[in-house]
Symmetry: C2
Amino acid sequence: MLSKKTKYGIKALTYLAGLHDREPVQIAEIAKHENISQKFLESILLTLRRNGFLGSKKGKGGGYYLIKEPHDIPMTAIMRILEGPIAMVPCVSLNFYEKCDDCPDETTCPVHNLMLKVRDSALKIYRNTTLADLLYKDT
Amino acid sequence: MLSKKTKYGIKALTYLAGLHDREPVQIAEIAKHENISQKFLESILLTLRRNGFLGSKKGKGGGYYLIKEPHDIPMTAIMRILEGPIAMVPCVSLNFYEKCDDCPDETTCPVHNLMLKVRDSALKIYRNTTLADLLYKDT
DNA sequence: TTACTACCCTATAGTTTTAGTAGATTTTTA
DNA sequence: TAAAAATCTACTAAAACTATAGGGTAGTAA
């Protein structure tokens, strides 16, 4: 299951990407527009800023704004920051690899091999989708 | 993330499918062979039995055994029983559909459309993979 | 009848998720 | 300089979920 953190984060990023300019947008505006708890969103935007997706400005006229171009932000990056591993099992994760406690041999593990396929197919989609792609409703 | 429940369930099913006959196998034997907490496995096998995957026999020489042929058990069925929805968001789930609280319109929701693709790709794999396929190490 | 084994119910420690509360800090404006 | 506007930070907490353990029941075979 996708966490609300990730869901809200994607929605917020998409909202920012859909605006005409890159002027700062207040948390409150995003939260209201996307029906998100403002305080929760606050922490999400903060981690997005810390990871180089967003810039921020304090004081009047302040807020958050996109730092990169939407078509330069692949979903892989967003997912890994907000959701964590894309793989469903740590032993098939590229960026969050971890060995299983059970499982003497990964190469013969049925779960491992199945989840490897699932990861690859998801990865393919996330890699080929950028924030800009999310703006166009159809397809 | 895949729950250990699902992981253990798949391993147990694969173990049973790999045996020559369909004689009852004790929980303890499966648990030991797959390094699984016996008590936890107990409840997993129970739900697999209740959902028509396994048969059981009590008393001496008792245990669990496969009821169907491995190539007649698609991964979709196993996943849905043990893990729940295959979709990462309820609003794109075929069997566990639920509307989002936020989100006025699904068709324009960026998360919805992205997760629809992810679900489809995962579904394709699970549908085309049966328990029998998990037995063969390579591919 | 005795040993064996699945069945069933309950409890619980631990973790993760999803926030809420309270205030500090920085910037702009009057 | 003071007030207002906004982000930033830390702490807390309820709720849900996960993984497991314990102990008793009931059916089956020798």
